[in-house]
Amino acid sequence: MVKIAVCLKSALDTTGINVDAISGNTSSMPTTKGLPRKISDFDRNALEEGIRVKEKLGGELITFTVADESAKEFIREALAIGADRGVLISQSEVPILEEVNGSSTDKSETTGLDYLAISKLLVAAILKEGGIDLILCGEVSVDWFSGQTGPRISQLLGIPQITSVKCLNIDGDLIEATKNVDGQDLVLSCPFPALVSVTKAINQPRLPNLMQIMAATSKPLNIWSLDDLAEELSKLGALKCQVSFDSLEPAPSNRKSQVCEDEEPEPAAAWLLDNLKKEGYLR
């Protein structure tokens, strides 16, 4: 029997963000306004891996999320996919640092919880829950790609971590995990309790069926406030942010953007190869 915690981030779905920003057009500042949220892709892989471990060894799987209450729909989704219980650490009173809006000039909107605070909130909830053997999370989040939260959680709990894992095996209370570093596979091992962050290569996340979606509504979803976590948080030090957001600018591009629209493939190919020769990329 294994008690598994999976950390799920309610991430911005940035696939729809305007691409004009890339071209360096300064009038089109990237903005998060109107962008939907979703469970961060890598965290879905973490959830899938947790369910597989549970199916093999038996036990309980609990998800942990720091977000406002709108994230309840994602936790319900995780419950439908296979989690037993969901915990939402509600932070509606303190905005998350990442919820910045490029068009906003009001600095008061752009201060909020950084990874230091978010990790402490997750750790406080994991401590309150107690008895966790394995913590799983995505190696990074799909909107910010920082990859700080997993390592911060393991340090705060004083447990080992293995990050960017693409293959996970558990034998008794020993974890065996494979990660790829510069084309080499490293097989690492550590005992429970431990934190493992996963890559997208580790598995193909399953989708819930209709029966599971209906059954999820009767699974428990706990909402914990900062007050509920006061005792645990008192051991972790201040939630004070050490990083503040200053400004946002579009990512510039220095590309030439020369396009050949010749209908015929041969002249187009000749045009390209001539340019490559001219630039010194081809003999």
């Binding site: 990790s119 084309g183 990083v243 190869l273």
Partner: protein
């Protein structure tokens, strides 16, 4: 950070080339630079870092260790930072480097930024820039704590600016620069005398994480990281069999085959090691060909450091054309054979 004091910055990266860049970035901030070297035989790396501009090098030697695990690195760097009174720690933004940032920052109760592309000092505060939202924007962060941990991408920029007016003027010029190759030109001249190399002694407990095996990755996986030429294919490919056409072009150009997300993640026609993009691998070839790839921001972020970008796509409105140097609007099934025929003619 108080008053006009010089910052003390501790730098560490397991990759020597990037470690030298970190020293260069820290020097650009007019900091007192202490470079950490950790390894079974740190001697020659310590010399290299001393000659490239560090004020001091701290060398930790453990000949029995073949792999320094993140937990142990965080313990050592914490001890080194407190010994030299560091205000900030710069780490190379490698895969393990970024894991180290989170662990070390939590250990020091410090703020952190990973994958920074530019550092500056404004009104005695350290500022760090990084890409966000799948590469669509650059965020500028102010590090407000008494200690900061920042990982730095290869080719990062630095500037030691004192007031914000100056910062604004440089920001208008252009925020990103092409990576400066690390060589002798990066050696910073210091007024003070020869740097001191010092052995760092620390009782390190055995790590709970053990290395069981180190093996080359699966044979079919292609490493794109150091490839000079990458020919990448996307959703425009109609059939897995047609990969041969792309492979043929890659061979003709002396390059390797990459792909965009759908080919690796949805179709699974190529292994994830060949997936170019923010979620896949970030590459820096001299020449990059995006064939049948529309150019989502996540993909573009993965080729930001490519020297020359070529796009072939049948959709004239595809965003890839704005992010390419040369583009051909047309059917890849006609353009690629035409390219192959011409290259063969020329050979």
């Amino acid at each position: 950070m108080n008053g006009q004091e010089t910052l003390t910055i501790l730098t560490y990266c397991e990759d020597l080339k990037l470690a030298m860049e970190l020293v260069h970035v820290a020097n650009g901030l007019k900091a007192n630079v202490v470079a950490a070297v950790i390894g079974p035989e740190p001697g020659s790396e310590a010399n290299d870092l001393a000659t490239c501009g560090a004020n001091k090098v701290l060398a930790y030697q453990d000949s029995s260790m073949e792999y320094f695990e993140v937990h142990q690195l965080s313990v050592l760097l914490d001890a080194m930072a407190s010994k030299v009174g560091a205000d900030a720690i710069l780490i190379g933004a490698t895969q393990d480097g970024n894991s180290l940032v989170g662990r070390l920052a939590a250990r020091l109760d410090a703020g952190a930024v990973t994958d920074s592309i530019e550092l500056s000092i404004v009104s005695n505060n350290l500022h760090a820039k990084r890409l966000i939202y799948g590469g669509a924007g650059i965020a500028n962060f102010i590090m407000s704590g008494s200690m900061s941990v920042i990982s730095i991408q290869p080719g990062a920029k630095n500037s030691a600016l004192i007031n914000s007016a100056l910062v604004n003027s440089t920001m208008n010029n252009s925020a990103l620069v092409n990576p400066a190759p690390v060589n002798c030109a990066l050696v910073d001249t210091k007024q003070d005398s020869t740097p001191i190399i010092e052995n760092f002694i620390h009782e390190l407990e055995p790590s709970p994480v053990k290395l069981l095996e180190l093996k080359a990755s699966q044979a079919n996986a292609v490493s794109l990281k150091d490839a000079e030429v990458v020919v990448a294919i996307g959703r425009g490919l109609k059939d897995k069999e047609d990969l041969k056409l792309i492979e043929e072009l890659a061979i003709a150009l002396g390059g390797k085959v990459g792909c965009s997300r759908p080919i690796a993640a949805d179709m699974e026609w190529l292994p994830v090691e060949q997936w170019v993009g923010l979620s896949g691998v970030k590459i820096k070839p001299r020449l990059y060909l995006a064939i049948g790839i529309s150019g989502q921001v996540q993909h573009i972020a993965g080729i930001r450091d490519a020297e020359l970008v070529i796009a072939i796509n049948n959709d004239a409105d595809a965003p890839i054309f704005k992010c390419a140097d040369y583009g051909i609007v047309g059917d890849l099934y006609k353009i690629v054979p035409a390219l192959l025929a011409r290259i063969k003619e020329g050979a």
